[in-house]
Symmetry: C3
């Protein structure tokens, strides 16, 4: 290549080109095509890798939000779970999840990505899509970052009383089997996909699947001690508002990768529209949460603004590629309203969600998925039909909730799902980890 | 395309190319050009989207710095403002700001981006620049992230006593009208641009505009209670140094996008020079603040190091594309010196800036803009004339300060700009938000 | 170009192409080649700039981990050091380090990057590699971010008792001279490179060099007061677990740039394999640290999980380009085991490492480098020989340790390396900086 490349980039005056023979012209053209293809492939893959990095940082976002919104005596316990969740999720997805979710992507192996995870660099060439936008390794890592998210959603809801061993076993099964099997029905080009169900980046497949898991968890495990007393809902103040804010902003940032990367290429028009929609929906959610919180509680309720942002992000996720920006603001705003009503409703049923995860991810995940059937237009301009969206919500919901419920019930009957009353009252940190989250009180 | 593409990428041995006809050679060449153009467009757009994400995270940076540098009793209030500022800013800029600032970019509509924000995906194709570097959506989002910054600068200065309703109304007007109109004079190719005024990424258009707004705010609102007593300046210790450090580093990181994205393409030579200049100016600012703080206060003053970094970043922003790296270190160092003197001078005039925003953004924004007229060379190698830089500083300053002053005065005469004395003393968090920033003291 | 470009992108119907003359075909082909080359260069450079930004944020990661793992009374002091470390490191590397490390990269100048750092924009063109993947400015900034890392590693180990002036002088010499000279032996294509030593992204050249410096530091300076009493190791609880978690996740994120950028291009297959290996090694390290900590201390030891993640990342760094994913999990797991044993062993010898930096960076840096000689295959498929890896570890270790030891001894004999006993007991923050890290206890 070098000779022609030098000719092209260094010399290549018009005069010489004019005097080129047909064979020389063809050679230059072929060489140009190869460089162009490599450049295109590289640019696309760079975008997908950066999107992967952004989704990764969402795990710090979840950790920060959950630790910020829960009590100081359990801070270490929550951070411990949120650190091990991506660890378990990534390894589990490497060993079984990826193959289960994308059966076509691993020809010759059904169970276990490239033979129970045993791959050598020698065949990494085979992992490049021949005509695709990014490598198979990028594909795996991007999807693996998604997978761990579903379990993280559960961790927030059941925080402050779940036994850590029970949570870890749940995570292995939920990320390793439940999430990828449900995901395969749509993204693995299974039955839901055949049916016309649309879920761009996972309002249903990621967020409501996680949300259903969270709902099953809080039903089986029960509310925190002292949460519901004499018909009143007792507030459990979070340890650190700044930590929660750091978490929400990191999640918003990460969502640029979550939705932007779900284009599965660097396509300029579509990726940039998706980012605009994602951002504006978050803004709408913040305003929806703010006004609803103010109307309901008569105060500048910050928690509802923060959860409103997350609600708007979850809401837009199913159709960030098919909504207009104005629709995205509207869909986000409604999500911001819904998240407040959902939180209040859950408390009425004594369903104790420590961080509002069910309201954010389940309620708004359902809303966003249905919104695609109300507002969305397919790429050919035709309206997206509503019924497949509804069926998708119901089918995935039934599968995710029942799976999670059964896992939690079995765990309850065997190793137990809840810490002792003493540990819960005194805090999980001292008892299970032997350290405290903060030691920042000064001696006089 | 597929047939030729396959020919190119899979077969395309030299032998076949040599035997190609002229028509075949031309077809391959045309196809190669299309792939190359798509690749170039994608790579540029990826850079601009990542720059946008980096500018977004600056809002978390501002939130962290301001909450870290102010008192614990007002932490929630500050974070509340800093969370709603980008929310309001982004939506306002979508509805009116973008059209006001770039009138040419939205042909057929003067007021309201694409018709009061009503855009459909159908015409998203029209939002791609035909020969440009990135899509119109990317353009909008990048500029919208900038817009919200101007209001954020104000929020820090007036923290701990401003009424939140007044701040929110101010933000809507300042981001929706004042910032984009002033910005249009240069970046919208208006009169300042005609005059030869240069401001690469906004030392004046963003930072000093925000800084003038902040100055107007602290004049109208007045100092915090107990700040100036018997001729002495009373220190109000910040709640959390780690939070401030997180903020400063995130701002530094975000500045890679703020300045690097202002190249408005992924041009390798210019973007990478801009990143080097930006980084080295931050380092110079840190050293300038460190040594000046040590000389003045005889201690290792960390606040001056942190504000020195921000000062250096603001200082280099006007000319990061035309300075050399050595000049950037020097300009940053001077900014680091200026920020200390500015802070001391403001206190002499009993102008109470809770986080040093005026010194960082206004003083160093002016310095950086003038520095372009002292050190900068235009792309043709000629020196940048000084007077247009001075005129730009004065004109933008007069417009921004008087606008902000009038808005704040009107707010003062109507709904009021300041919380009650009791609320200020006891802290805004308990009174306006009903929660505290931290609950991390353990029960014995 | 415009005419042809227009022809290509707007018209260019197949019919016209077919009727093109040979000269026209050649011109289109040449033009396509130029666009393709620019696109490729841009995409590669974008990746390298984003990798640089990711490595930058590791400095916030180090600051957060170190402040989180150490005592509240010294928080400001630690953050002060960790903020000035990249400042000093970047400027020092600009002035001398880059030229020392890559003598070939700055032809005509031996000492001082482009003439003691004096570069003008006029010759920035010359800084573009003619046939390379990214600009010289990008190259400099990426390498400069690495350089500052080596000193940061030292700062954690010697925290809570080192004199800040001694630390700063050490940093100037270590980053300006020791790190780049050792680095030049391999990455500057010196003697270790000739010998066949392999160190992809610096398990030895960055991490163990920093780790040896840390070991020399804690030997010369001695343990913190009250750390080893009557043969017992006294625990010094860290100030904030959330801060440490933020730090570890930011380091993990930054490592995507640290290792991914060390490919020195955006090559899709290799960069994405490197990201997968890096991530899975971190997961392996977390599990290794978790199980070893549980087995040894009979508790869910969070510190060992967090240091296990860092251990896995350091371990995979030497061979992230030549390991398979399964090997990476294994190598990371072993690193997670080693970091626990190393920490316990150091305490047996009364070597007081305040944050576990020696165990993470030195022990696991050695392990990772040797692992390349055990598992790694060169790009031609042949096994990497073990002995050059061992020699590289020993030679770099001898050089780094003896240099650091001599610097610290000279500092001890001259200005002193340790704060007074009173300052150490009462905390460095009040005495050296005049402020406290937190003021978040509410008045009743």
């Amino acid at each position: 290549m070098n000779q022609i490349f030098t000719f092209i980039t260094e010399a290549a005056p018009v005069a010489e080109a004019v005097s080129a023979t047909t064979a020389e012209a063809a050679l230059i053209a072929v060489e140009a095509s190869k460089i162009a293809s490599d450049a295109y492939f590289t640019a696309n893959n760079v975008w997908m890798m950066m999107a992967t990095a952004l989704v990764f940082i969402m795990h710090l976002g979840f950790a920060s939000v959950e630790a910020g919104f829960t009590q100081t005596k359990n801070t270490v316990n929550i951070l411990f779970k949120n650190t091990l969740t991506p660890v378990i999720g990534l390894i589990t997805y490497f060993v079984v999840g990826f193959s289960l979710m994308y059966p076509d992507a691993t020809p010759g192996f059904w169970f276990g990505f490239d033979g129970f995870g045993i791959a050598s660099r020698a065949n990494s060439e085979a992992f490049e899509y021949t005509a695709g936008a990014y490598t198979r390794w990028t594909d795996f890592l991007f999807q693996a970052m998604f997978a761990a998210t579903a379990a993280t959603i559960v961790s927030g809801a059941v925080a402050e009383r779940i036994k850590i061993s029970a949570y870890m076993i749940f995570t292995v099964i939920f990320v390793g089997l439940v999430y990828p099997i449900i995901g395969s029905w749509k993204w693995g080009l299974g039955a839901l996909n055949e049916m016309g169900f649309m879920d761009f980046a996972g309002s249903t497949l990621v967020h409501s699947v996680g949300g259903w898991g969270a709902l099953a968890g809080i039903i089986v495990i029960g509310p925190r001690l002292g949460k519901y007393v004499d018909g009143k809902v007792i507030d459990k103040p979070g340890s650190s508002v700044p930590l929660a804010v750091i978490g929400v902003f990191l999640l918003w940032l990460g969502w640029f990768g979550f939705n932007g990367g779900s284009v599965l290429s660097g396509d300029p028009a579509l990726t940039s529209l998706v980012l605009v929609n994602t951002t504006l929906a978050a803004c709408g959610g913040a305003l929806g949460g703010f006004f609803t919180g103010y109307w309901m509680f008569k105060r500048l309720d910050f928690g509802m603004v923060l959860n409103g942002i997350l609600a708007g992000l979850v809401g837009v996720t199913a159709g960030a590629d098919v909504f207009t920006p104005v629709e995205s603001i509207f869909i986000g705003s409604i999500a911001g309203v819904l998240v407040v009503f959902s939180a209040v409703t859950l408390d009425k049923f004594k369903l104790d969600d420590a961080v509002g995860a069910v309201s954010v991810h389940l309620t708004c995940g359902i809303w966003g998925t249905l919104a695609v059937g109300i507002f969305g237009n397919a790429s050919d301009g035709s309206a997206v039909p509503f019924l497949p969206q509804l069926y998708g919500v119901l089918i995935c919901g039934a599968a995710a909730f029942s799976s999670a419920f059964i896992i939690f019930i079995i765990l309850k009957k065997t190793i137990g799902v809840r810490v002792s009353e003493q540990h819960e009252v005194e805090g999980l940190d001292s008892h299970e980890h032997g350290i405290r989250g903060y030691t920042i009180v000064y001696d006089k």
